[in-house]
Symmetry: C2
Subunit: 217 residues, 2 copies
Amino acid sequence: MRPNYAVALDVPLSPEVVEELRGEAWGVKIGIPLLLRVGVANTRELVRGWENVICDLKLADVESTMVSTVEALGGLCGGVIAHALVGRDGALDGLKRSLEENKVSLYLLVSMSHKGWDDSTLEAALKVAEAVDPEGLVGPATRPWVLRRVREAFPHKLILSPGVGAQGASPGDGLCAGADVEIVGRTIYTSPDPVEALRKIKTYAQEKLMSCEGTAP
Amino acid sequence: MRPNYAVALDVPLSPEVVEELRGEAWGVKIGIPLLLRVGVANTRELVRGWENVICDLKLADVESTMVSTVEALGGLCGGVIAHALVGRDGALDGLKRSLEENKVSLYLLVSMSHKGWDDSTLEAALKVAEAVDPEGLVGPATRPWVLRRVREAFPHKLILSPGVGAQGASPGDGLCAGADVEIVGRTIYTSPDPVEALRKIKTYAQEKLMSCEGTAP
């Protein structure tokens, strides 16, 4: 297994750096702060050529607002992340339909990476996700047991995993627990050399993967 | 009691209409779709002079992203709405601190207005809200029993209530169940005469309030 990374862009990096990161990463994750700071059009320009552009607005609203939000992104995203816990009727069912019409993938967040997140809701979130049948899931690298449960529930879905770096997980923790792609933000975009930072993370993850493969789910 | 309304602007209305609505409404609620469509600067221009500007991005992310999002809004909002269910440590506690420093009010959403929302999380959300101690709460006009529970838990906090109009509740339903302000969006911004639509809603709510006052919580 190759260590796949999505670079979280919460702040703009120079077009040259973003372009160089493209050669090293699986994809790029766009956050609300970037969209508000530079606008949709400039963000589209910045990530031109990337194969996987995931818009992470943590959608958690009623159907009409989520659909309207994705429309306002005007084709920027190949995938969007929404909270599973908003539920189906009047929310995710309608979002899924709208995304399918526009050939945008849905990734459902079933658990978050920070300490205050309450995982007593995990099974309910997984149940919603099973019914909605998204393209992929999002679960935390900071709590590998949660990620293993997500992988168990969805053996064949793509799993994205934040929490590596500033949030406390080490590179490879998410991959070893069953994720396909780790998401890294601050460690990359606050580095004086973001491309080198990503390369180091990948090297570290590669070594960790060698020690966990075979034991990973 | 006077029927107080917040106008949800998910799409831009003309500056003249927005200005006229100001004379009739308690406040304006700004959604992500509007911010993405017209940008932060134009939105600020559109709501200049409004006393209560509530930015409703349904924040539901880790602390650093929520704080960065509010920073990117650059003083546009007097208040922001966040999901109680993201929890405190690494999320709402830090957001609250940052908002206090910037004199922005926090409103915590403890239950949503659509059918698919699962209110088995209500008590957990109220518990988070009690610990975070926000300026106000957000609960659904479509499920008055939930709103009554929110009012019971927070006798003295401001409660905002969406769900009136397109989502099924009648004007006054939220106010009669204990809310201070009802939020109306589509019924107003899709009307050929938004100001007249708001006036009609207020008249309807006023009548309903006369019949429920004394019985309301």
